[in-house]
Amino acid sequence: MTQLITPQAHLRSEDINVWFGERHVLSDVNLTFPENQVTALIGPSGCGKSTFIRTLNRMHELIPGAGLSGAVLLDGQDIYGDGVNPVDVRIKIGMVFQKPNPFPTMSIKENILSGLKLSGRKVTNADELVETSLRRASIWNEVKDRLNEPAISLSGGQQQRLCIARSLAMEPQVLLMDEPCSALDPGSTRRIEETIEEISESMTIVIVTHNMQQAQRVSQQTAFFLAEDGNPGTVVEFGATEDVFNRPIDPRTNDYVNGHFG
């Protein structure tokens, strides 16, 4: 039995079910994300990984027709609870998207500060914040001389690290990453994996990836999602990354991680 000894349940999903209109796409997802650990979500295309990760910071409800049941607890507090403002949730739980999406009308520096400005907060010692955020995303050396250039002048890999830095500047407690490396070359991918390792010392990370090696390299625990023949997607196996990849319990997990389907 792959059972995790959890230091502290930082973020938890309880019985998450998701619908798009009448279509049931996720069923009974129960996952625990311990503090300062990296959790990888793997599974074939269309099984609902992106959908699930979007429920974790209330981006899901922005899609017309989206439905949800269950709860997501951050430090024991339901983020879908009455009176909880989705905007506050998204400040605490940051997100990095599949395609790099820096704001094209802003400079590199403005992009880093954009989160604060967008959420209406005061920016004190901006320069320091910009530098630490860029350093943590290990892109500081590449951009320190061109902070006022437009962000879209960067390469794809740099843009993605800029987006990570942009999220880091908000000092989120949790960072959600939906296939952050899928549009990048191997070199950039490696840099981002290093970044993930580094920042996981101070925050909880959930990452969706199609890359088995990446999951094994960066994560401590792994959840395998699967949607079979028109059934809603669900978690087939969840446990320490070691175990899920080397000693899977479910034969379907075994097939998937060994590349037999999906």
């Binding site: 079910n17 409800e61 439905g67 949800l68 049941s69 269950g70 669900t234 479910d250």
Partner: protein, 323 residues
């Protein structure tokens, strides 16, 4: 992991409505402006209706079906059929002239011409669209009318046995034929732009497939491009028809209005146009006559609104990718 049967999960209510004060204000204002556009259209209808009521009430259905406008009797008689019919005749004539031009322009721009030429022609069409109707009217009166009169005489000379080109009065100026051309010039851009849009969004693979099957340019055009784009072309034509019905100043300059109904003698100097009639008569109309003109405005407004709604519906349906 066998799935146990258990009660269906309870859906939670998700925040669809903005909760923040700032967002509520933001969406409140924008929703307000959107509703204002509804209010505006309704207000137009209400105000015209109020003023038009005496005329509608007195004339009844005859207002639309009758053919007399006489202020020598008390109360005066106001019936607009010749104007209504004239408007429709002009619109149809304009569309007949404009649609081939528009399709040709769109085909040239999207399929035939090399990029630089296509760009120039696009510019041309956009420029034509930007010309105010008063400028076209001025040109129509002094430059185009004499030329078109020549064409009309020629048509009458060779095709005079057709009722369309018969001309008993011998007066060829300010005829529906001339005004129809002016209308065509005014509506070519809109039909072109809708047709072009449809052409440009058309699946290139479909066209390549037709060519790969050995289709010539011409057969690809008639068998593939036109049928696929037909919905959009019809929609664009309807939009043009709507514009044609509402065209005012340009027609005012080049058409002789007459309540002596002209069914189809295109080259006679007798025609009708509701919009121009309103413009021509409102200045020195009595209170009651003004009511009749407002009523004519109501008829014009409702007709164009319906045509435009229909056109919009057809164009949108012809462009499923435009959600």
């Amino acid at each position: 992991m066998p799935v146990e049967t258990k009660p269906a999960p309870q859906r939670r209510r998700l925040t669809v409505k903005p909760t923040l004060l700032g967002d509520r204000i933001f969406f409140g204002i924008t929703t307000g402006t959107a509703y204002f556009s509804i209010v505006l259209v309704v207000l137009v209808l209400i105000f015209l209706m109020i003023r038009a009521w005496p005329a509608f009430q007195h004339e009844g259905i005859g207002f639309i079906t009758g053919s007399k406008w006489d202020d020598s009797v008390q109360p005066m008689i106001m019936q607009i059929f010749p104007m209504l019919y004239g408007s429709i005749l002009l619109a149809i004539l304009g569309v007949i002239l404009a649609v081939p031009m528009a399709i040709a322009l769109a085909y040239l721009i999207e399929f035939l011409a090399p990029k630089p030429i296509a760009r120039v022609v696009t510019l041309l069409v956009d420029l034509l669209a930007a010309l105010p109707s008063v400028v076209i009217g001025l040109w129509g009166l002094f430059v185009f009318s004499p030329v078109a009169e020549g064409w009309a005489k020629l048509l009458n000379h060779y095709l005079g046995w057709l009722p369309l080109f018969a001309n008993t009065s011998g007066n060829f100026s300010r005829s529906p034929f001339i005004a129809g051309w002016i209308v065509a010039v005014m509506i070519v851009p809109i039909i072109t732009s809708v047709t072009r849009e449809i052409f440009s969004q058309m699946d290139r693979d479909l066209i390549n497939a037709a060519k790969a099957l050995g289709g010539s340019m011409a057969s690809t055009f008639t068998k593939v491009i036109l049928p696929t784009a037909s919905g959009g072309i019809v929609g664009g034509t309807l939009l043009g028809l709507g514009r044609a019905l509402g065209e005012t100043v340009a027609i005012f300059f080049v058409l002789n209005l007459s309540f002596d109904i002209n069914w189809a003698d295109l080259t006679e100097a007798r025609g009708g146009s509701i919009a121009s009639m309103i413009l021509g008569k409102l200045g020195n109309a009595s209170d009651y006559e003004r009511s009749g003109l407002m009523a004519a405005g109501v008829v014009l407004f409702i007709t164009t609104l319906l045509i435009n709604f229909l056109a919009g519906y057809i164009v949108n349906r012809a462009q499923p990718w435009r959600k």
